[in-house]
């Protein structure tokens, strides 16, 4: 899921072709049963705090003499190309991190090592369900969950209080009512936005569609076909528009939350709510430190009072490339990382740990608490290798939202067109 962001912004290009590759598996001499070894670990920029990785790498090297961990932090821009080529090289990294929506594509093509037999060794009983689904292909597991996160409604406690809202809304109706109260209370501020909601925040849309009982695609035999034209999905899209209209958000209708970054907008102090990930609040606080004491979060409300809407569970998996020359070392590295010690650190860093059900360390602050509360209701996009293509460019869901929100298309037409495009992508 995050690969997309990197891709979208990174200067990128087209990769194409190959003549006679891969067969020249010249062993470059990295293997060998004894002597010093290097374990190459490849994590994404910003995924795990450096305090965690430093400690982890040190502990691993201490307990494995003669092994050096070559820890490479990968930047997001151009990562698709880099993954494709690195997995094709003679010396792929030994441990890699993959976005969860990206994983099926790599798992289904035999590029990753089958870890089904090792699951028990890797805390398999406590794997986070949503992520586990994403790395399972034909009943085999090609990785293990690393961490996940999901969206909550991040809000300004001071503005809520000033508007006379005593408790965070727990249903869609209460949410809309709160928006009205906030608008009335801040009518004097021309820059005020009760809720910042850009037109293409499609992960948020997923919540609404799921909450209405719909889905973006459904399984039809061994293929997925779009189901955006169902009444439930349409109701979800419609609620999105209702929120945009009611809140009078000034966010562009034709971009997602990254352009401009909604955390920067929230950081201006004129926004009462945004639907975002914990790190987005972190970014806003960095821009405007005053916000730290004035913010909290609540789960995205549901149409049913007292419940919270299902949320998209975004995150990363860890995997061992099929061509790794240090499989055993890589496995013991993953074993160490999947242990409670490091999982707790992931929780403390504000993400849902991938291989531990204990989220106590996460719930130590209000945002983490909302996160932990809603992650139980986390869902993922259809587990098909084709899904990566939906996110890797020209996402029909985004076009659908823009077309409907700007009035360019009717609800039926927008959902119908998007459904056709989605079915084509999932089928092709």
């Amino acid at each position: 899921m995050k690969g997309l962001r990197g891709l979208a912004v990174g200067a990128a290009a087209l990769a194409v072709a190959v003549a006679g590759c891969g067969t020249s598996a010249s062993n470059t001499g990295t293997a060998g049963s004894s002597g010093p070894k290097t374990l190459t670990v490849w994590l994404m920029d910003g995924s795990a705090p450096t305090t965690l990785t430093d400690a982890l790498n040190k502990e691993f090297q201490d307990s494995n003499k003669d092994v050096t961990v070559k820890y490479e932090v990968q930047k997001w821009g151009g990562i698709q190309e880099k993954l494709t080529t690195a997995l094709t090289s003679d010396t792929p990294p030994d441990v890699i991190e993959l976005g969860n929506t990206q994983t099926p594509k790599f798992a289904s093509e035999g590029t990753l090592l089958d870890l089904t037999g090792d699951a028990s060794n890797l805390n398999g009983g406590e794997w986070l369900g949503g992520l586990k689904d994403s790395l399972t292909w034909e009943d085999k597991q090609y990785g293990l969950p690393f961490y996940a996160s999901n969206r909550t409604v991040i809000y300004r406690t001071d503005l809520f209080e000033a508007a006379g809202i005593t408790a965070p809304p727990t249903s869609n109706d209460e949410w809309l009512a709160a928006i009205e109260k906030l608008k009335t209370a801040n009518a004097a501020n021309p820059d005020f936005q009760a809720l910042y909601l850009p037109g293409q925040s499609w992960y948020t849309l997923l919540s609404f569609i799921w909450d209405q009982g719909g889905d973006v695609a459904k399984k039809d035999g061994d293929k997925f076909v779009g189901s955006l034209d169902s009444a439930q999905a349409k109701a979800g899209v419609d609620f999105y528009k209702k929120l945009v209209d009611a809140s009078g958000t000034k966010a562009p209708k034709d971009t997602d939350e990254a352009k401009p970054q909604q955390m920067e907008v929230f950081g201006t102090g004129n926004v009462a709510m945004m639907i975002g990930l914990p790190w987005e609040l972190g970014g806003a606080v960095k821009a405007n430190p005053d916000l730290e004491k004035k913010t909290s979060a609540f789960p995205i409300p549901s149409k049913t009072a007292g419940k919270s809407a299902p949320v998209f569970l975004g995150g990363s998996n860890l995997a061992i490339p099929a061509g790794s020359k240090n499989v055993d070392l890589a496995k013991s590295y993953l074993k160490l990382l999947s242990g409670k010690k490091y999982q707790d650190q992931l929780g403390a860093a504000g993400t849902v740990p991938g291989t531990s059900k204990d989220t106590a360390s996460l719930a130590s602050n209000p945002v983490g608490k909302a996160l932990a509360a809603s992650s139980a209701n986390g869902k993922v996009t259809p587990a098909t290798p084709k899904w990566a293509a939906v996110e890797a460019g020209q996402n029909p869901l985004k076009d659908m939202l823009t077309a409907y929100l700007t009035g360019a298309k009717s609800l039926d037409q927008a959902t119908g067109d998007a459904n056709t495009a989605l079915t084509a992508l999932l089928g092709g």
């Binding site: 979208a8 912004v9 990174g10 200067a11 990128a12 290009a13 087209l14 990769a15 194409v16 072709a17 190959v18 003549a19 006679g20 590759c21 891969g22 067969t23 598996a25 698709q80 190309e81 494709t84 997995l87 094709t88 594509k105 790599f106 289904s108 093509e109 035999g110 590029t111 000034k250 966010a251 562009p252 209708k253 034709d254 971009t255 352009k259 401009p260 099929a322 061509g323 084709k386 990566a388 293509a389 890797a392 460019g393 020209q394 996402n395 985004k398 076009d399 823009t402 077309a403 700007t406 360019a408 067109d417 992508l425 092709g428």
Partner: protein, 329 residues
């Protein structure tokens, strides 16, 4: 950079000398005529030709070969070879969108190239009329544009055209137009217009500098003669500047065509070829097939078709160039 094309322009300018001087050169060589002399040109060309054939030719051939294979991620990683004949081409060519995209790409390229060459020429001509400080100011500003990293310029353009916070809408509102919250990217054409502006902005400095060098390479006595004949500015341009500049103009137009046809980064970063695919060009299609969907064989077919189309667009120029070369020999 200025001088890059000067001499190219200057070549025809100095037509008085080439013919005899070449004859002399050839004659001199023939007199010596040793094996070494006969081999010398090939020796001098060898490193360049080897470099090009090895580093460009070989990958190009593999792209062509790949276009006849099924090559998805799995085949790539396993090093598996699956031949599918013309399937990839059939798939691409049978998609009605392909023709729409091709047409869009050609029109977009034509508009961008024409605009940047014409404006570049006008600026080059303008520069001759300027006082020195203003000319240097203009040159420095164009250098700034040229030196700006693409990632920065693309981002800055997106901000300038931002619906809500963009300075452009703010300025228009200040000037009394109703552009508050105006979206510059509501259709594919609108999106391509903004991207086209960015590309023109990036391309003009090279063009203006090259053409300026050509303009001041025009012998002054030709202008003096025109002045004596009492020609108007337009007549002078038609009679003196234009014929002198034409070969250079054709050359830079040709190069711009090659470059602008292949533009990808800017288009992708703005809207990924959207909204609803409305700004998708051939390089974007290639990316969608290749990297996004990992159909490298299909993407290779798209690249081959791209080169074919590019060749069709430029074939008349290449032919003309060959003839001139022949004439020069």
């Amino acid at each position: 950079m200025t001088a890059v094309e000067t001499t190219d322009a200057a070549v025809p300018v100095r037509t008085s000398s080439p013919a005899p001087r070449r004859a002399v050169a050839g004659g001199a060589r023939r007199r010596r005529g040793s094996t070494f002399d006969r081999l010398l040109p090939y020796l001098l060309l060898a490193p360049a030709v080897i470099g090009i054939l090895w580093l460009i030719g070989f990958p190009v051939v593999s792209v062509v070969v790949t276009s006849f294979r099924k090559l998805d991620l799995g085949e790539l990683v396993r090093g598996q070879v699956v031949w599918v004949g013309l399937d990839n081409y059939a798939k691409v060519l049978s998609d009605p969108r392909f023709w729409e995209i091709t047409l869009r790409t050609v029109v977009f390229t034509a508009v961008v190239v024409a605009t940047s060459v014409v404006v570049g020429l006008v600026i080059a001509l303008l520069m001759r009329q300027l006082s020195t400080p203003v000319r240097i100011l203009l040159q420095v500003c164009m250098l700034l544009a040229w030196a700006m990293p693409i990632i920065a310029s693309t981002t800055v353009y997106q901000w300038i055209f931002d619906q809500q916070y963009g300075i452009l809408n703010k300025i228009l509102v200040k000037l009394g137009f109703d552009y508050a919250g105006h979206s510059w990217f509501s259709t594919g054409t609108a999106t391509l217009s903004v991207i086209g502006l960015l590309i023109v902005w990036q391309a003009i400095p090279f063009l203006a500098f090259s053409l300026y060098a050509g303009v001041i390479g025009v012998p002054a006595d030709l202008y003096e003669a025109a002045g004596i004949d009492g020609a108007t500015a337009w007549q002078t341009f038609r009679a003196v500047t234009w014929p002198e500049l034409k070969p250079l103009l054709m050359m830079v137009t040709f190069l711009s065509l090659l470059w602008d046809f292949k533009v990808f980064t800017q288009i992708w970063v703005f809207k990924e070829g959207g909204p609803s695919g409305g700004s998708t060009t051939l390089p974007v299609l290639q990316y969608l097939e290749g990297i996004s969907q990992s159909h490298f064989g299909v993407a290779a077919a798209v690249s081959v078709l791209m080169v074919v189309i590019l060749t069709l667009l430029t074939v008349s120029y290449l032919r003309k160039l060959l003839q001139t070369q022949e004439g020069k020999l």
